[in-house]
């Protein structure tokens, strides 16, 4: 029998016996960041492709979600800070080795940009909208004129944001479950997929929905493929990695992960989407709802489970 215990009574809140320093705020923040990144990615993508007209919801209406999600996400992050009044210290330096730092900066840029993006479509969305101030109207004209370069910048930022939500975790060598380079692309894919789901839910245009549906199906397949790779990596890895994987393979997260994330959040909506493409009638809200829900659970499970995993010595 092997025993390992603290004999000096160490029992620090949120650290012992299991690390739980990040509560619900961080997974929510990661989720909303990924969601916003997904929405903004597709909006900018279709603007760059010049398909604004065909993809009205994607480019205009759905983007309203992005700044809201980002602001709520940032609010959650702020909530989670333990030394809140020093928040501004984030913006006194850029530290490239710290995902938290470049995430903060990316959000600092992409949040106002997403607001500007939505604002630049206000007149198209709400006929008769007026900005009241002359300089705002001038700024709007300037943005609309430069929409494609603006979209390019924002698309790059959206990808960074999407990847960042995964890398924030994967950069932590100390947490074996997180410490895999697949997490960046996986979270990006998941973010894109949830973004698409949100757009699909809002879109009333059959053609737009079909297009998005097809992309989403591919994204889900990519995501499943990445998850399989994730586990193959764990199973082929060192003891700490197999230990990490075991949390999902019989461990305490088995049900929440396989049932809610994989089956209900990915496999089932993917099936529904495939059926829809083949002409079967599927309630329009169902696949997006499942994807959005599955994505949320995925972030929670990963953050919770990851904090339990650690090096053994």
């Amino acid at each position: 029998m092997k025993e390992e215990l603290f004999v000096s009574g160490r029992d620090i809140p949120n650290i012992d016996p299991y690390l739980h320093i990040w509560h619900w705020q961080i997974p929510l923040y990661l989720y909303l960041g990924g969601l916003a990144a997904g929405i903004l990615f597709f909006a900018t993508y279709y603007v760059i492709k010049g398909k604004e007209k065909q993809m009205q919801t994607t480019v205009k209406w759905a983007t309203i979600i992005a700044p809201i999600a980002l602001v709520i996400g940032l609010g959650a992050l702020f909530w989670d800070l333990k030394h809140k009044l020093y928040f501004w210290q984030l913006y006194t330096t850029i530290r490239f080795t710290s995902p938290m730092s470049w995430g903060a900066w990316t959000l600092m840029l992409i949040t106002p940009m997403s607001i500007v993006w939505v604002a630049s479509y206000m007149k198209e969305m709400i006929p008769g909208w007026d900005w009241k101030f002359g300089f705002l109207n001038k700024f709007e004209v300037w943005i609309i004129k430069n929409r494609v370069p603006f979209a390019w910048i924002m698309m790059i930022l959206a990808v960074i944001l999407g990847v960042y939500t995964g890398i924030l975790l994967s950069a932590f060598n100390a947490r074996p479950l997180w410490n895999t380079s697949i997490l960046g692309p996986l979270f990006l894919t998941s973010g894109l997929s949830t973004g698409l789901a949100a757009i699909m839910w809002m879109s009333k245009d059959e053609h737009e929905r079909k297009t998005l549906n097809r992309i989403d199906l591919i994204l889900i397949l990519v995501e499943l493929f990445l998850i399989i790779h994730l586990f193959m990596g764990f199973m082929a890895g060192s003891a700490v990695k197999t230990e990490a994987a075991s949390l999902f393979l019989g461990g305490e997260f088995t049900v929440s992960f396989w049932v809610f994330v994989i089956i209900l959040g990915l496999a089932f909506p993917a099936t529904l989407e495939a059926l829809e493409l083949r002409g079967f009638h599927v309630p329009a809200w169902l696949p997006p709802f499942l994807i959005l829900f599955g994505g949320l659970v995925f972030r929670f499970v990963m953050v919770e489970a990851g904090q339990i995993t650690r090096f053994l010595y």
Partner: protein, 177 residues
Amino acid sequence: MRYAMAIDTKKCVGCGDCVVACQTENNVPHGYCRDWIVENVSGSYPSVQIELRSERCNHCDNAPCVRCCPTGASHIVEGGIVLVTHDECIGCGACIESCPYDARYPHPEGYVDKCTFCKHRVDKGQNPACVDVCPTHCLHFGDLDDPNSDVSKALKNRKWKVLAPEAGTEPQLYFLT
């Protein structure tokens, strides 16, 4: 200059004196600690072994906490001591997540706190409080670059290990086995 500590697991009795001395020296609030003792028991009766380790921040050469800190509050100073500047720390918890040794904790005031190798003492040429209090003399501190330092001498003739070397953090706590 490279400060490091060697912990003699053969001598440590796990009394926790290092923990109390650290708490009183550094005003660590009740319920928190910057150092702690792990007892590892292996084998089966009557062939049983105990390893006792007084653990604390490893003041890693490749410190993940410093790497992931978004504000630069976590930093490394002369001698390789990893410190946190309280007024730069936002309490995001990234460094806590990044530490394979769970050596950091959120101070009730909000900032992240940890072992400082008693820099305020070391600067004056003293040992950290834990080292000077240990009744078994199982802690050895000093400059690795100085072959005559306590820690260099302790490491010279003994087998040692570091914790979780595979984490790549290049820890500077050496456990004499």
